[in-house]
Symmetry: C2
Subunit: 201 residues, 2 copies
Amino acid sequence: MGSEGIAYVTQPSRTARERIVAGAADMISRRGLNATSIRETAKHARAPLGSTYHYFPEGKQQLATEAVRYTGDLIARSLRKELEAGPVAGLRAFLGLWRKIVVDTDFRAGCPVLAVSIEEPPTDETPAALLAAAAVFEEWESLLAASLRDHGAEPEEAAQLATLIVAAVEGTVAMCRAKRSTQPLDRTAEQLQALILRLCR
Amino acid sequence: MGSEGIAYVTQPSRTARERIVAGAADMISRRGLNATSIRETAKHARAPLGSTYHYFPEGKQQLATEAVRYTGDLIARSLRKELEAGPVAGLRAFLGLWRKIVVDTDFRAGCPVLAVSIEEPPTDETPAALLAAAAVFEEWESLLAASLRDHGAEPEEAAQLATLIVAAVEGTVAMCRAKRSTQPLDRTAEQLQALILRLCR
DNA sequence: GCTAGACTATGACGGTCGTTATAGCCAGTG
DNA sequence: CACTGGCTATAACGACCGTCATAGTCTAGC
């Protein structure tokens, strides 16, 4: 312990609640939702177990939901800013964020939104964390699509390409973890960048 | 029970060992590796728990490894056949396989190879299941890349596009599960098909 | 100072996990 | 017929899980 968590750093200045959420996002991105226990989440955030149920009375589902939204907002904020310099710059920033997470954690962490997306819902109704994951994907896509439209792409084409970008990046991050190499990220980056350049005039 | 598992059907004609592997692949694709217990795997295959450790003496890791290879071979076999009709036909078959799994299971199942890829390795060395996942991705990519080269693509371009296709499909399946919709698959299919057509002359 | 409410500390509950051990069944071979 | 080896049945092991309850500590406002 102590040398591993770099991607979602838990600065001691933040409140205990924020540290728990950020730590949960990090752990979910590494091991998946089901393998992330509330006990370890609390320990990772140097918070007592009891506090977890104080801050998140609805239990694990609420914590997972907030962790998904936390990461979603983190990425969306950066993406929104970089997209001001155009879709290619936005893509580069998007890829760069994930590359940093994957490399900094020695291919151990990935995307918690993806991790939550591939867990089977229990029985009948859709859990809140899965709904949050869908909303995060939607937001990332719409940010990219808007930028593509602003740079001359047809709306339908822009929507398609935005979906492709998000899906490809998520899949590529997973492939990098399996192969313990950033080569998939390099290849995907090349192809997606060419695709944007071709579409925006 | 009885009306849910359609994607990786467990025909009673197969041996108990095969049923356990196929069932494990299905369960991993739904809930992830860590949330798939050997007990439930055995129950799902109508095999006693003791038999699991008889057939797979190395325990859960061995079962997971074989489940990954099982799915990898299943997809690779179909992909190889359809690619004889060209890369576009291959892409269509690839997408169709995943679409069927996602739709038939009401967005509950996905790709077990992806699920294994995003689980953090325990401590020091890479687990066998993760190595198997990397090999499966590699095989799918090389099948696609070879077909693209055979139809006029430059080797480097072919490799890049093959990686993009595998990554995009894996990511898209996850997005479909989160959104409970096949729209991402439709969009990705459109973009990838256009990409192949543009590259192969 | 004192009290209310936010937070911590601690322990327990029933349950499932991976794995192992042991004893039994039941084909097929000699 | 005995017997051997593949497979089953059953129970147990320590460990961890999500959740809840309860009692204690701390701090802000009166």
